[in-house]
Symmetry: C2
Subunit: 451 residues, 2 copies
């Protein structure tokens, strides 16, 4: 996980050449300002193999960012433009992936115009305090990676690299962070500069040392926070290299998938449709929303859920049926929502609990709207109750009938309506995509470092 | 429902002869006090066919009730002793059933020694106010009977005769009571003497006009209260004789029972065991408790319930299997608990939600107590969750395994442990007892006058 000295030297050399190249281009274009290397590469806290370089082009407040973007486009011949809050360039420079990001140079981090303007402040804050603690940061990042909580992207909902660095600064060492987090409770506040200016409802609040109103841990979910805290406790008691380097889960072969289904005897339903051609941080919130919509539909229908998960699989899956289904026809891949039901088959009779019996008008309307119940109306717990014939007895029938009308997010709805496929129970064996087989292996295991 | 004039005259004559006989015996024994006819017979508010006479022997405070009980035993050759708060005699006198109840004559109803001492006060209070309203009381009682809310015994949880009389006094007429009750809400208070001395948590509070601390409607359940109020509203809108005289439900024949099971497709489980030789008001609370214990067992086991009911069937049932089961071997009859399940078969995998992940000691113990889960441990909603193999997948297996250990009430527990029988689904067809077939017909219909 710790980069070798050659790796370090090579990265430093490449970074130096990029900065020189950009400064040269800025002079040629007559742009004021400066180019700075930021992020983990700038402070020796990157994990071996993560070859991402972040270079920011800072221009004076009040000027335009466009000339800086023009410069970014000229750094390397192979590049693409990407968008976060505003445009930046993702380029390939001597085999390294480099993000070149125009931003404003502001006096104080609380006066930033765009979120990226804050990054140079972070870089300066950490650089000034991290000397000698680089290895502690590396250990922490690898530990977080190993227990599945590293990354602030919405797919993960975990800890960002900057957050890991701040925690090392706060607690003094890798083990210090583990000990500190062992005692965390929801609503925990870490305020390095003791300058917090507002309260947050987040599970963990790490006040940004360069901007008192911001929570660095805002993207961290409650479950990832305590997956980390629980793993910390367990590691301190029973340390093992597995925390840093968990064994890879191989794709689940047919036989084991069959065994897992037989062992659980629950009902699995898999919904599959083509992914839209958008970045992860746009797709994932919609995918989680779609998963919740499907869950809510089934629960409204009276079915009982056990667990669910969703993921984006980019590899082109190998399928038996070839033409059928949405067809992962391009390399954008497919979205998959897996729902595990405790009860997927319900009796025909269904209880409908109505208004309190003393609300005369409501009660009358409720009874009138169920003119031929199987049982009732009767009064139970003070409420009017009828028992009627249920429409959908099987969860899959309800899903097939209603899924196209669900609220699935702005881009996922149209995508699903162009085509989807539903697999029930043993039919899931038809999905041979190795990425899916790893996903379902992880779903069945669902083992976190808790103990 | 209104007694004929011959019926009235005959009752009055018999009542007169009983009183004379008792007074004669009291004189012969040298007992002071008086014999009074109380209850509906005394005030012309009894329903035709209800031939119950209540005669109270009042003795001065401070004396013993035993000589009065001796007298009661001598009134008729055919009698048995019964017990409420203390002993009384139930005798057969010229074809009429008579309760002869010793009580104390006290100055004020709030100074009573036993509940029966209050009855003469009730009788005097109502007699002085009910003249001319007798037919209104009869209509109200028959209406209450017809809609299934008449009777304050625990089996019914409805309105007593005295309560019906007080409501007629309060609202002026039968229709007045229906109109009044149409507007009732939970916690309704009716206080004829405006002298309530304490608050009650009961759904309906009718302050006893002879005892300000007592709620005459204490035995009325919320559901019976609003079954009456809802029927009242419906009757005022669409009156029909059916409210007073609902059609009898005949025993459900095999074919219709089969149809009902096919129409509902739920799972019915019937638990049957011998009733103890005790009065209804002792047995019924225990039977309800047993019903709740069985429900709670199945819910703890993860099964989902739809509805349940319980009853005491006294007729000797005709059964196919003869010797098997508890055998309704004597005329005490059997107790039956009917449970209808929405879900009676569960998957093998079972979710166990543990403590919050930040409660380190609890979390550790929870994980240690599930050493080989099917999935997990993982953290969801901040809690530690494991998925383990369930022990009982079928509700009937759980019930058979655990029913003998359940808390079923003081007398029912031993009775059940001497022998019970469980019928599941179609097996219920084996139960041919006409009383059960009427009970299950009513269970399936479950129709109250609500609209």
């Amino acid at each position: 996980m710790r980069p070798s000295s050659e790796e370090r030297e090579r990265l430093a050399a490449v970074a130096g050449r990029i900065i020189s190249r950009i400064e040269e281009l800025m002079r040629a274009s007559g742009i004021g300002g400066e180019a700075v290397l930021v992020g983990s590469a700038a402070r020796g806290t990157w994990l071996s193999g993560d070859h991402d370089l972040d270079v920011f082009i800072g221009v004076p407040e009040g000027s335009s960012l466009l000339p800086a973007l023009e410069v970014a486009r000229l750094v390397a011949p192979r590049f693409e433009e990407r968008y976060a809050e505003h445009a930046y360039v993702h380029a390939l420079f001597e085999g390294f992936e480099v993000d070149i990001v125009p931003c404003y140079l502001v006096e104080d981090a609380s006066e930033i115009i765009s979120a990226v303007d804050r990054t140079p402040f972070h870089s300066r804050y950490v650089s000034a305090r991290i000397r000698g603690l680089e290895d502690e940061v590396l250990l922490l990042k690898q530990f977080m990676k190993g227990v599945g909580v590293y990354g602030s992207e919405l797919r993960v909902g975990g800890f960002s690299g900057y957050l890991a660095e701040l925690l090392v600064i706060r607690y003094g060492s890798f083990v210090g962070v583990l000990e500190g987090s062992s005692l965390w409770r929801p609503g925990e506040v870490v305020d390095l500069e003791d300058h917090s200016s507002r309260s947050h409802g987040d599970p963990l609040v790490v006040v940004d040392p360069v901007d008192p109103g911001r929570n660095v841990a805002a993207a961290l979910t409650l479950d990832r926070m305590f997956a980390f805290a629980a793993a910390s406790r367990l590691f301190l008691r029973e340390p093992s290299p597995e925390f840093f380097f968990p064994p890879d889960l191989p794709p689940l072969p047919d036989e084991e998938l069959r065994e897992a289904l037989a062992e659980r005897r629950s009902t699995l339903i898999l919904l599959e449709f083509a992914a839209p051609d958008l970045v992860e941080d746009v797709v994932f919130p919609q995918l989680r929303k779609a998963e919740q919509s499907v869950r809510a539909l089934l629960e409204r229908g009276g079915f009982y859920l056990l667990r669910s998960d969703a993921d984006w699989h980019r590899a082109v899956p190998v399928r038996d049926d070839g033409a059928e289904g949405p067809g992962p026809s391009d390399d954008v891949g497919v979205l998959r929502i897996l729902i595990e039901l405790e009860v997927a088959l319900l009796p025909r009779v269904e209880r409908r609990v109505g208004p309190p019996a003393w609300e005369a008008e409501h009660a009358k309307r409720f009874v009138a709207s169920h003119p031929a119940p199987l049982s009732g109306p009767y009064i139970e717990g003070g409420r009017v109750v009828v028992e009627v014939a249920r429409k959908f007895l099987r969860a899959e029938d309800l899903l097939r009938s209603q899924v196209a009308g669900l609220s699935l997010g702005r881009h996922l709805g149209p995508s699903l309506r162009r085509g989807y496929k539903i697999y029930v129970g043993q039919e899931i064996l038809e999905v041979r995509d190795p990425e899916f087989r790893i996903f379902i292996a992880r779903y069945f295991l669902a083992r976190e470092k808790v103990g």
